[in-house]
Each structure stands twice: as C-alpha cells, then as structure tokens.
Subunit: 138 residues, 2 copies
Amino acid sequence: MRSGAGDAVEQGYLAIGSDGVEVRVRRRAGESTLTVKSGPGARRVEEELPIDDRRFSSLWALSEGRRVSKIRHLVPLDGGLTAEVDVYADALAGLLTAEVEFPSEEASGTFTPPPWFGEEVTGDPRYANQSLALHGAP
Amino acid sequence: MRSGAGDAVEQGYLAIGSDGVEVRVRRRAGESTLTVKSGPGARRVEEELPIDDRRFSSLWALSEGRRVSKIRHLVPLDGGLTAEVDVYADALAGLLTAEVEFPSEEASGTFTPPPWFGEEVTGDPRYANQSLALHGAP
C-alpha cells in the first residue's frame, strides 16, 4: 500500500493511429514511461519503456490537448481486495473512478461493491483513459 | 564509410497522430530504435530511444501495412561530400533515392548533382519515408 496521499499520475497521448495503436507517456511517483499498445481487436501487444525526465518533458509537449491528470489511491476492501481509486484533475475535475482486479472470474461474479462505488461503468469505452483524454468526461 | 554492401534498414510506423506526430521503429545494422517526431509546423521535437531485439519484434508487428525496407549505401562524391543512396525493396522495389547533406547553404547552392542522380525531388513530400510507407511510390 502507498500512503493515503496517493500517487500523482500524469498521462499524455502522443499519437493514436487509425487502427487504434496508442502511444502515450506517463509519469507516476517520479517514474516516467513511454507505452505503445495495440488497438482493439488486434493481437494484444503492450510495450512499456522507461524514459528519463528530460525525455518525458520533451515528449510531454507533444501531448497537448490529449492529457489526463489524476491522483491514484489504493483503497483496501473486504476479502483482501484493493480498489484503485482515481481522482481526476484539471479538465476532468469532479470525475472519480474505482477499479478492482479480481483473482478469478468467480471472485468477480460474487463481488458486492461497497456503497460508495456508485454507477457501474465497467466496459464503457467512454471511461477509458484515452477517451477521457481526447473527449473529456462523459 | 560502410562497406559497399550497404546497411539494411527496416522502418515501420506504429502510429501517426491527427496532428502529424509520428512514432516509428527502425532497425539498421543490428541496432533498433523507437523514434517519436513532432508533426509539420509544430516546434520540432525528435526523441530516439534504443530498444532491444525482443521489443523491436513485438512493436514491428504493429506496423503492418506501414513499412519501408531499403538498403542504404554511402557513396562518396566530389568535394568531400557523401550521398546517402537508398535502394528500396518489397512494395517499393525499383525506387532509388539519393540525399546529400551540405555543410552550408552556399555549398548546397553551388552543388552540381552527378548525372546518375536523376530527377530532383527535394521538398516533395511524397518521397518522405512516412508517405512512402503509407501510400507507396509516387
């Protein structure tokens, strides 16, 4: 677990190809990465390359207008599960999402969300970070 | 100077953003890189990251249909100049380009191309590698 203060996450999209390949840079807790991901439907490819601060700053400039800033909190839940709670900032201020990874399909099926979770948006593409960066909050 | 056999260059575009930011992978003489370049008109940014063979193979798969293969020869010219002669392969077989970098504007202005250079295409965007990869030979 991280501290209650959470991690600042800055994520900016450099390019999104016509077939959905996305290239983004991200800084979290002082570590920066460049990530290339295949588009939907394609055989899944995801490569994450560590980059230094100078490269992050240089590339960040290319993501203007396609950015997401948020604070990620790790919140313990019953049954040993953890929720990743993202509190969005800047243009997305007011949006808050929670995500839980389950050890199995069964654990997912029997999970009862705590009352503070709010509306279910799993599978809603408008909440993908790429969509939030390009189109704003739904 | 490299040997007369030239260097095989394989270049594939991962994503080209709506504002022209391009992300490509390249393998030349056993060295692989991932390059991010700003689009035309923007403040120039270019970052080249070395990547290992595994990452190159993984990312290369995402460039299908957006590739250029060529052999680059370095050909000495009069006056200490060097021509980079690219002999394209695969879908671009038959295309050959020569490029000379000059130490000054003046040297560029007084240069007389050798007879084998053929048609002048400097500044013709159809011969940019991105365009050749996406649209084929003009």
